[in-house]
């Protein structure tokens, strides 16, 4: 009903018929770049706003409410302020690495966003190894964090970067294995294929309890991978000032901040796509009247609704749980999540073998 592929095709054919092949591809690249940039900027600014509002509600405050109605322009004002702040250079820092780190962090998050299916046909790159691609690209971000911490030549930064490295690589395993469980069910790594395999029910419901276990593990590990919530050891304010970005100022600091929120969005979007049926509407088996009403809601709203819910849950984690110690953090991953995940994988492949899932 709401298929975006004719729309995308008409844009493609408009450019290819009116321009020479070279200019057509250049203009299409430009169009995609501008679209992604606008989406990225708006999403980043409003995720920060949402975090501040939700945090304020949980602490019984009002939150930003002065700039614009309900404080909606607060983050835009903050962005302008950060753009006009001095970029401080540390005397003994490694200049080249210090400057390259924000690039790596942002490149990793933008390239991962390109392969997320927002609606049918509304996806910049639909690779046949989509899940693997997202995992590979989003784990590049930790290199940027490590470089940032190491190049700053500050003790807080180095400790923060090392902690972040140990944490992200550990939880990378759990993220990968819990997604692997769902790949066994779906039988494909292409994100659009995984969504079509959920036409008759989301994997969270179709996969019985093992799918639910995988979903919970994915949420915990995903939160840890974004260096957020109870797992924010890398930038523990009360111990390490600001962790790996202590020495960054102005717009360079803003990019690290932005990347954290975009990584959270990516984690939530992948969870939506793989466990909660992506842009597919919520259906109740054989209840046609209800299903028809649900079909009228556009898929983009379904996608962003589900993603916003998962982002809300992750923010909820952050503002309710106290921070873990590093030994607790690593023990949680290696002694609990990893063995459970391996057993869960066996269970899920057994379910698939017996065709016990719906």
């Amino acid at each position: 009903m709401y298929d975006f592929s004719p729309f995308i095709d008409s844009i493609n054919s408009f450019f290819t018929s009116n321009f020479s092949p070279f200019w057509a591809s250049v203009l299409l690249m430009l169009l995609l770049g501008v679209a992604i940039l606008a989406f990225y900027a708006v999403l980043g600014l409003y995720l920060v706003y949402a975090e501040r509002k939700i945090c304020a509600r949980m602490q019984n405050r009002i939150g930003p409410n002065r700039v614009g109605p309900l404080g909606l322009f607060q983050t835009i004002a903050d962005l302008i302020k950060l753009l006009l702040k001095e970029l401080i250079y540390i005397r003994n820092a490694d200049g080249f690495l210090f400057n390259i780190a924000p690039f790596i962090v942002i490149v990793a998050s933008i390239m991962a966003i390109g392969s997320i299916p927002f609606a049918k046909g509304l996806q910049a790159i639909d690779l046949n190894i989509g899940v693997l691609y997202i995992l590979a690209i989003s784990s590049m971000g930790v290199i940027g964090v490590l470089i940032a911490g190491w190049a700053s030549n500050s003790k807080y930064s180095v400790i923060g970067a090392m902690r972040s490295g140990a944490q992200v690589i550990s939880y990378e395993l759990s993220v990968g294995l819990s997604l692997l469980c769902m790949i066994v069910f779906a039988g494909s790594m292409q994100l659009s294929d995984i969504i079509t395999s959920q036409q008759d029910g989301w994997w969270l419901f179709k996969g019985h309890i093992p799918a639910f276990i995988a979903f919970v593990i994915y949420l915990i590990a995903g939160t840890a991978e974004t260096n957020r919530g109870p797992f924010d050891l890398a930038e523990a304010e009360s111990e390490l000032t600001a962790g790996f970005h202590t020495e960054y100022s102005g717009i360079k600091f803003a990019f690290f901040f932005l990347a954290e929120y975009m990584n959270m969005f990516i984690i939530a979007a992948v969870a939506t796509t793989i466990f909660l049926g992506g842009w597919l509407p919520f259906h109740i088996y054989n209840f046609t009247a209800f299903n028809t009403v649900m079909d009228y809601i556009p898929p983009v709203f379904w996608f962003f609704g589900k993603t916003a819910f998962i982002i809300y849950v992750m923010m909820w984690f952050k503002w309710t749980f106290p921070r873990l110690r590093i030994d607790q953090l690593l023990a949680l991953e290696w002694k609990y999540l990893l063995p459970i995940n391996l057993l869960n994988l066996v269970l899920i492949s057994f379910l698939t073998l017996m065709k016990w899932h719906f």
């Binding site: 591809s25 003790k155 395993l173 590093i326």
Partner: protein, 116 residues
């Protein structure tokens, strides 16, 4: 077309960061000072080198991670064809995961998973 899209996303990210940093470079004030360009350490002059050898615990976890991550990469192609291949794929992964689990158990018993 899709290969162009990857390049486009990469260039978009570089243009975003580069453009913002260049804009900030010209728009923002620049007043360096000896105190300002010191690494931040709560106002105390920094003592000794920062780029030192680091705690061995991180190294141990990195090694175990490397083993498990490489094994996970082997599982991806298996996961895709699991449905079609059926029983033999299930038995194979059972053997594979048993070996992997023994590896984890070994690391656990050797106290490699304990942070000191």
């Amino acid at each position: 077309m899709e290969s162009y899209h990857l390049l486009t996303l990469f260039l978009t990210a570089v243009v975003l960061v580069g453009g913002a940093i260049i804009f900030s470079y010209y728009a923002a004030p620049y007043k360096p000072g000896t105190v300002k360009s010191e690494p931040y350490e709560c106002g105390i002059p920094t003592e000794g080198p920062t780029w030192i050898q680091f705690h061995v615990g991180y190294y141990l976890f990195a090694i175990i991670y490397l083993i498990f991550d490489v094994e996970t990469v082997f599982l991806y192609p298996w996961a895709v064809v699991m449905r079609e291949v059926g029983l033999s794929a299930f038995i194979e992964v059972l053997i594979f995961l048993t070996i992997l689990g023994l590896g984890l158990l070994y690391a656990w018993k050797k106290k490699a998973l304990i942070w000191e």
